[in-house]
Symmetry: C3
Subunit: 353 residues, 3 copies
């Protein structure tokens, strides 16, 4: 049995350890089409070379969330195959665009370890960096997962917990071409950076139902091999009773649904934090609403940033929910994602007249 | 809420109004593979560069029906998001071939408006033209949809109804390369233009069952965001009780199923008219039969046209049905499509000896 | 009805008859992405141009099993559309690699015929050869199927049964580039040819559940039109009561699942024999284990061969099964594939230090 990779346990990690994740992935037009089929995403920048060129690109870049899934998926077998829970992520950024034909790969460094007092498990903190074939960083984030211990009887007492910035720091240079022209007839949205105000709420009207084939095809495409998403036979004997949807599916759906109201915010700049508040299963219909947390001026005349909070719901429309948490601070049962992220959006001066 | 696009209502349209639909789409090999996966389509011209070159193309063109979906889907959010019913289409033509890498987009002009006497809704008639990145027309059609009015208390009395040709006019020039050679070993069919006779009926033997993931993945790929196809949560509270399949799915299935008997008719020239006679839902098995309505000689020695009527059925084989309508002129309950269209088919002189 | 291809019956075949299968297929990046989505396959050679180049290729080759499906699917309509059972295959080899953009097609020669004594059916033996656009052989195998007779009253007495080698002969030249470097950080596996021993058993831990959309999308992508896989309406009136999964789906799943333990065995060299021991249906979860039957030295310093036997199971984990057959020699009810095949695997000297 020794040739089988059963994943790492808490004792297998050490502070400073570097893990090169296998399976560099060359991203293709097939991945892009499948992503549109999975999500219905309608951001014009990722659908049209003509639109991308008009904006200032050589060709259409890959949707950042798709790139995230294709890169992140490879870390599952090393970091979270024996995870009890994916607890969180922080300081995520997308420093450079990725295009069809690029090959992405990822390396993680262990930056924290905290044994749980019950001796049965512990939390592992990693800093993961994804690069393209030229070594340019395309994904950068920290995450922490609770994993099983092999030995429940020995306590190591390790307790090194890193601290994280509340929001991903904004770099001096934003690696997006100077935006020449935004044709609102093409993007489908007429609102620019200056049109959004802090505290504004957008109730996105679309709801999209996810079936078993949808989410398992996507998760397999990402080569994410966490068993809970694929193995119905195994899951039937768990309290869930069925396959659990990969949380990244919900991030993608929420982002795609947010198109209606944010059509020109076609770039993810950062994910500041995220909580998968409740599980989702096949048959659930995903809705979403977005709050503008902050409007951020950067040192560029063509673009600004919006810090957003998108709440994804299952089987409940946004207008039915005022606040995602109840008075005791717990998420309501239909809330499935609380995502704090930052997007790039052009300013009015880029509008095609 | 003002940034949310809730679609247009009857009062939002005016005669002569021009609507530029968003989301130009660059068509990729990923779209082509997904289309084959959705439909099982086996037309060799669209599957093989080798076959396409032998026929006289530089490379394989995109299946016309796939191109239609990718172009048409973008008009939903402007024209039919608030549609009560998609009533019909006419004079549809596919004037130029489309290839992988081409970017298609569409514009519609309002050519008719008819308020319903109940004051609650009206019919909007549009003329839609799809072009590629060079401005060449690749899709041209008229359609009419019934949409809700915002104001039910005021009657405008508008009643401008355009007239349509019964069949799409046949152009003097058909933009298909001169067909050099058709290798029937490659196309899988040995019948040419001269072999078909008016009144002939082809009972296609294949039946294909459609599941929820199939049709929703396809409709999302087409970036068609009509809610009825995606949102099971919403549809459960309607008389349908479940997601309604996009009518275009049935056109695609009927066309793919018609391969067996029409293997060399690899081009859609026109859709003269079509009726989605009954709804289809996940789990339905689609069958089809085709009648040759007319054989049409054009001013070319290599090709002719066949005007066809393909009837798609659900959960019933073609041989069980003589006529799609009952004596009172209504469609039988298992008839789901009545499509009157015209295809290009090579003449015998092109056959590889 | 004469234009409809109803497939061939036993009487339509004759010894020495050559059948050119239609639908040459140009393989695209879309097919490759869909294959990963269907199977979750993680072999780095087929996922990454960077890995492929480092190994000694110009670019990533197509997974052999995907190529098999895209080529094989075309023979269904000529050979097995009226099959009662696909009985077996032998001497299958993959003599040359295939890349995106290649066009594959196939020809079969009838090499055997055996009428069944009941007069109602017979067994047809064919030798099928797939080639790329340059005529290089990419697939070579023999298979036999039981097909219906048209005339049940006349006995021809034909009984010409070919003999097959127990294993596919190993060619003097193996058309795989000299393997320069295997980076085990990229491939995800650290074991090479020398690490495997005869009799070793690998219990692969992954289990993957297959749904109706998964397997029908795949089989349609392969343009395999055997009705039993697609037509739920027809199948409901059979003892199976539902759509039967294409056996090739299970070969693909077993191969993808075998990654964990065989990460560096990225090439199929041959399939010696295979038995689809029991049917699989939507909802089944596939597991697999592999036994090393033989380790084979060839006349190359960079690679060796492993003859493997992979047993695929439904809804049962490998550790629950010692032997796939019971004492009476019959397959256990949860065994769905018994595949005897040979893979190429690099030797230790290729390992990147």
């Amino acid at each position: 049995m020794s040739k089988i990779n059963m994943g790492n346990f808490f004792e297998d990690f050490s502070i400073g350890q570097k893990i090169v994740h296998p399976l560099p992935r060359t991203i293709s037009d097939g991945d892009v089409s499948l992503y549109i089929a999975f999500t219905g995403s309608r951001f014009a920048l990722h659908s049209s070379d003509v639109v991308a060129k008009e904006m200032g690109y050589d060709k259409k870049p890959i949707d950042d969330v798709l790139m995230f899934h294709l890169t992140f998926g490879k870390s599952v077998q090393d970091v979270s195959l024996n995870a009890i829970a994916n607890l969180g992520y922080a300081e995520m950024s997308f420093p450079n665009p990725v295009y069809v034909g690029d090959t992405v790969s990822m390396t993680s460094t262990v930056i924290g370890l905290k044994e749980n007092s019950n001796g049965k498990s512990g939390v592992v903190y990693v800093h993961s960096i994804g690069v393209n074939q030229n070594g340019a960083v395309v994904l950068n984030f920290k995450r922490w997962v609770m994993v099983h211990k092999k030995d429940h009887s020995t306590l190591s007492g390790v307790n090194e917990v890193p601290t994280f910035a509340k929001t991903t720091p904004i770099a001096d240079v934003i690696n997006i071409p100077t935006i020449k022209t935004v044709d609102t007839d093409s993007t489908g949205g007429k609102y620019f950076f200056e049109d959004y105000v802090q505290g504004e709420r957008l109730n996105h009207p679309e709801g999209i139902t996810i079936d078993n084939s949808d989410h398992t095809l996507a998760t397999k495409l990402y080569q994410n091999n966490a068993k809970v998403h694929f193995n119905d036979h195994m899951m039937k004997s768990t309290p869930m009773g069925q396959r659990l949807m990969y949380g990244g599916i919900i991030i993608s759906m929420a982002r795609a649904i947010s198109f209606n109201g944010l059509q020109n915010a076609q770039w993810m700049y950062a994910i500041n934090s995220g909580a998968h508040a409740n599980p989702t299963y096949a048959g659930d219909t995903i809705y979403a609403y977005t709050e503008v947390v902050e409007t951020i001026e950067v040192n560029r005349e063509d673009i600004g940033l919006l810090r957003l909070r998108t709440i994804a719901l299952k089987n409940q429309t946004p207008k039915e929910i005022e606040n995602p948490k109840s008075e005791d601070g717990k998420y309501l049962p239909n809330v499935v994602l609380d995502l704090d992220y930052t997007v790039v959006i052009p300013k009015k001066k880029t509008e095609k007249k």
